[in-house]
């Protein structure tokens, strides 16, 4: 059973456009993380959000944790080719050492 659903699965947009990708679950998580993965490499942590409604910004990337801590979104402003990659969300439960990963959104930014 996949607990974390990411959408869209694939997204291809022009450089300079804005985009939002989503991570949804029926479960409540104590924390939600976003990773970016490039071909041939392991995922790299971008951000961790832990409070319902929390918003974090990382340059042109804005991450939001839903009020009920069941969902999250990643918004990219003025996308650049360097943003291309596989974006993964992962949910954690406090006191549990395991993370549950979503299936990912594969983002391609066209120059």
């Amino acid at each position: 059973t996949q607990l974390l659903e990411q959408s869209p699965q694939f997204l291809s947009i022009q450089e300079g456009e804005n985009l939002t990708v989503y991570c949804n679950s029926s479960s409540v998580f104590s924390s939600l993380q976003w990773y970016r993965q490039e071909p041939g490499e392991g995922p790299v942590l971008l951000v961790t959000v832990v409070t319902g409604g929390e918003v974090k910004k990382l340059k042109r990337l804005t991450f939001q944790f839903g009020d009920a801590r069941k969902d999250s979104s990643l918004h990219i402003t003025a996308a650049q080719p360097g943003d291309t990659g596989l974006y993964l969300c992962a949910g954690g439960y406090f006191g549990n050492e395991k993370l549950t990963f979503g299936t990912g959104t594969r983002l391609t930014i066209i120059p």
Partner: protein
């Protein structure tokens, strides 16, 4: 750089043969994890370790075993490889106090023919 090295980076093997993948860390972190990544399934946890000789199963542990005799090394063994175990395998570590933060190695591409 979290100091994680996976070996080998690529391996091709035949069905029924045993295979061992190695994960080596240089930072003496307590928690280490093995994940597999497959299209349409994302990353799925195979096994993890919370100390020397302390391991536990993940969601897809059937057909896999692990060992951790030293803090720095976490081995994943496929006792008798099957084609369904063709995948990319990632090792990850969680720094002490780094709640739910994982740092991943570069992966091992395993093909079972």
């Amino acid at each position: 750089d979290a100091g994680i090295t996976q070996s080998p980076r690529h391996k091709v093997t035949e069905t029924g043969t045993p295979v061992t993948l190695r994960c080596h860390q240089t930072e003496n972190h307590r928690y280490m994890y093995w994940y597999r990544q497959d299209p349409g399934h994302g990353l799925r946890l195979i096994h993890y370790s919370y100390g020397v000789k302390d391991t536990d199963k993940g969601e897809v542990s059937d057909g896999y075993s692990v060992s951790r005799s030293k803090t720095e090394d976490f081995l994943l063994t496929l006792e008798s490889a099957t084609s369904s175990q063709t995948s990319v395998y990632f090792c990850a570590i969680r720094p002490t106090g780094g709640r739910e933060k994982l740092f991943f190695g570069s992966g091992t591409q395993l093909s079972v023919l």
